[in-house]
Symmetry: C2
Subunit: 424 residues, 2 copies
């Protein structure tokens, strides 16, 4: 283990808090949250501030054309590809201080710490502040990591616009990035990626564990289910003669929940939105549309469950004499985290006596984009009450520091001692 | 039975069709429907046209201060209070040709027919075009019949406005009515009221019956049910740890339907509107609000069912660890039609070989307002596919004429021969 004395850890805990507080000033909004949208003035200022801070820690820094900012701790062996940690600092509108930002801040501090105690590593370590994850300004997610992974490129910039009609290309160019900027094109060669992030759920908090070792980021299917019945007068139509689409949808929602509970974790199935038509208290709904969000870590299980569920819902519709339309509008593959890094992280937690659990991530992260190309891993710390994307987002100092310790330890074992190298 | 020869009936059938067509020109809208809102230019013109038509039929006519238009066939015995038939000619926005209008038109033609064949009656017969039933311009219903029944008065005109901010009082005054108009105040003395109306449901059509004899207008309770759970991320919150308000509401909706089916006709219970919050596909709904509309002919059954249902829903909420709020915002008493008139009408149908059923009205009508003061009755004719409040509203000529026949026969028996007088 690295020497994590109480005094040194206390010092880094203070720095972590200071940095999170300091960064939350970039984009502080009137609601007490942080609004730092891609390529906005606040976002540019925050990246610049981070760049300066990285330099002060003795890191080499560089942007790429998309606006991803890297801080580099150069290793002694130039033949080894860099190992990368980091996350993103863009936020949702009125978000919290921790989502993404924590992973960037903790990554910079981890490199500072390692350099302070051990000097340069064998393998180069990069900390990256990815230029977009949330998709809260433009209707696309993972623009930053997507450019690195090759999902996007400067040759084909998506023709999307923000709410004010500004295109992604215009905004990127105005921020000083893009194909005509002085920056180099995106990195395409790296060894592995490890991201420290808040859980954005309450599993760790409720199970009183401090670290979540992510075994994968769930695949996701989103479906729009439409139930077609017959709209009639709520007073003049006897119960037995109705074709009530909302009543039928209610049976379906119950079926969805029960079948998901039966399937067990990590499967989740959610109906979050429902719209009966005409949606008036004294009229039987002729058509009801609801959304269905299904997630699982295993592609096969996700698909089998979804297929069986569709059959069940069709049976309910048929029994009730209803029409049913099933329209899928999102289908994302699960991405597994690398099993060797998972094992490394489990060992680190065990030997440090940290209460941890191996768990899937139900939310999407840059690690799933980078993890589709190269080995990736994620470390979760608890989110108080599971709250995220909200000014009330909070993680206790002690938990922030446990995440920092596990990240630092793994980077030390990996980049200084090469302990895990053979397996990747 | 009155002498309803084929030739005479054919003649009245043509007149009925002509009149319905002619009236639908007052307020004909671009969608092919009729929009004739209270005190609008179209409504005033239609009442005036009806007034002229009534005079041509030899009826005395008069308005009251509210704008109700009466056509009177004066009886030979001035000691007998008038028997009244009629309905309303105001419509919903983009309504059909039959709702209300049919009862007014058939009433005028019934008086014309009786006078043509039998001369003046013993008891005075009034046909009334009530000045508002739908509540489609102002947020109040039964303004016309309510003034007659004493629920409203010119001394206390409700302070309501239409969508353009015009008050009821302003609109009434601009139309030439109101307390300062030359018209007399509303009639408060009448003997009985009988209203011919389209069913606005599909029970008669599907059961292949031509006449519905209404035994009562159902009471109605409207409740806003709010289910409070916990809003969480749809990806990061395991199924077993959720407090999903929409899933709980779905269980409740199923319970509502099943309990209503179990209770049997004429009870109906409808959830027509539901609003989960935040209502986003990837967020578990923290709160879900839905409407509940319950109707029954028997006050006691309506209340017992509603109370038991509330208990059941509270039990579901409790089992799911949810909060539930129950807010009633409408509670209308059932109004029974007069049993003797029901018997009269049943006899008329039987002796004429008309397929009829005795049935409740699930929708509200002026007959419930006037019926709260004096004996009332309603005759229904089939609505094609149960469609109403829509340009597609339609009743076949043959059915329109059966309604006319039954109404005319009852008025003849009642006002000419005094056959039912003793019992009322």
């Amino acid at each position: 283990m690295v020497e994590q004395t109480a005094a040194v850890l206390d010092q880094y805990s203070i720095r972590m808090n200071d940095m999170l507080e300091w960064l939350s000033g970039y984009g502080a909004d009137e609601q007490g949250g942080v609004t730092r949208l891609l390529y906005s003035r606040e976002w540019i200022a925050a990246q610049e501030a981070l760049s300066s801070y990285m330099k002060e820690q003795g890191l080499e820094t560089f942007y790429d054309q998309a606006g991803n900012l890297t801080g580099r701790l150069v290793g002694s062996n130039p033949d080894l590809l860099p190992v990368v940690t980091g996350s993103h600092i863009d936020t949702v509108i009125c978000g919290g201080k921790y989502d993404g930002t924590y992973g960037v801040v903790a990554g910079i501090l981890a490199l500072a710490y390692l350099q302070q105690v051990y000097g340069p590593p064998v393998r180069t370590i990069d900390v990256i502040s990815l230029c977009e994850e949330e998709g809260s300004r433009f209707p696309l997610t993972y623009w930053g990591s997507g450019n690195i992974a090759g999902n996007y490129s400067m040759e084909r910039i998506p023709a999307v616009s923000d709410r004010e009609g500004i295109t992604l290309e215009e905004a990127m160019s105005a921020a000083g990035f893009g194909p005509d900027s002085p920056y180099r094109s995106c990195l395409r060669s790296w060894d592995a990626y490890i991201e420290l992030h808040i859980e954005q759920g309450f599993v760790l908090e409720r199970s009183q564990q401090q670290i979540g070792i992510v075994n994968g980021i769930v695949g996701q299917r989103r479906i729009r289910v439409s139930v077609g019945g017959e709209s009639n007068h709520a007073g003049t139509t006897p119960m037995g003669w109705r074709r009530d689409s909302l009543a039928c949808a209610a049976e379906m929602i119950t079926c969805i929940r029960h079948s998901a509970l039966e399937m067990g974790d990590p499967l989740v199935a959610t109906v979050g939105s429902i719209q009966p038509s005409p949606g008036v208290s004294n009229v039987i709904a002729g058509e009801t549309i609801f959304t269905l969000d299904i997630r699982h870590l295993d592609r096969k299980v996700l698909d089998e469950y979804t297929d069986k569920l569709q059959q069940k819902l069709r049976k309910i519709a048929s029994q009730e004499g209803m029409d049913m339309y099933w329209e899928e509008n999102l289908n994302i593959d699960p991405v597994l985290m690398h099993p060797d890094i998972i094992t490394d992280l489990q060992h680190i937690c065990e030997s440090s006596g940290i209460a941890c659990r191996t768990m899937p991530s139900g939310a999407g992260h840059d690690a799933q984009v980078l993890g589709s190309q190269r080995p990736a891993a994620m470390i979760f710390v608890p989110s108080r009450q599971g709250i995220s994307h909200n000014p009330l987002e909070y993680t206790a100092d002690e938990d922030l520091m446990q995440g920092f310790r596990v990240l630092t330890e793994w980077l030390y074992q990996y980049a200084y001692r090469g302990e895990c190298h053979e397996t990747l």
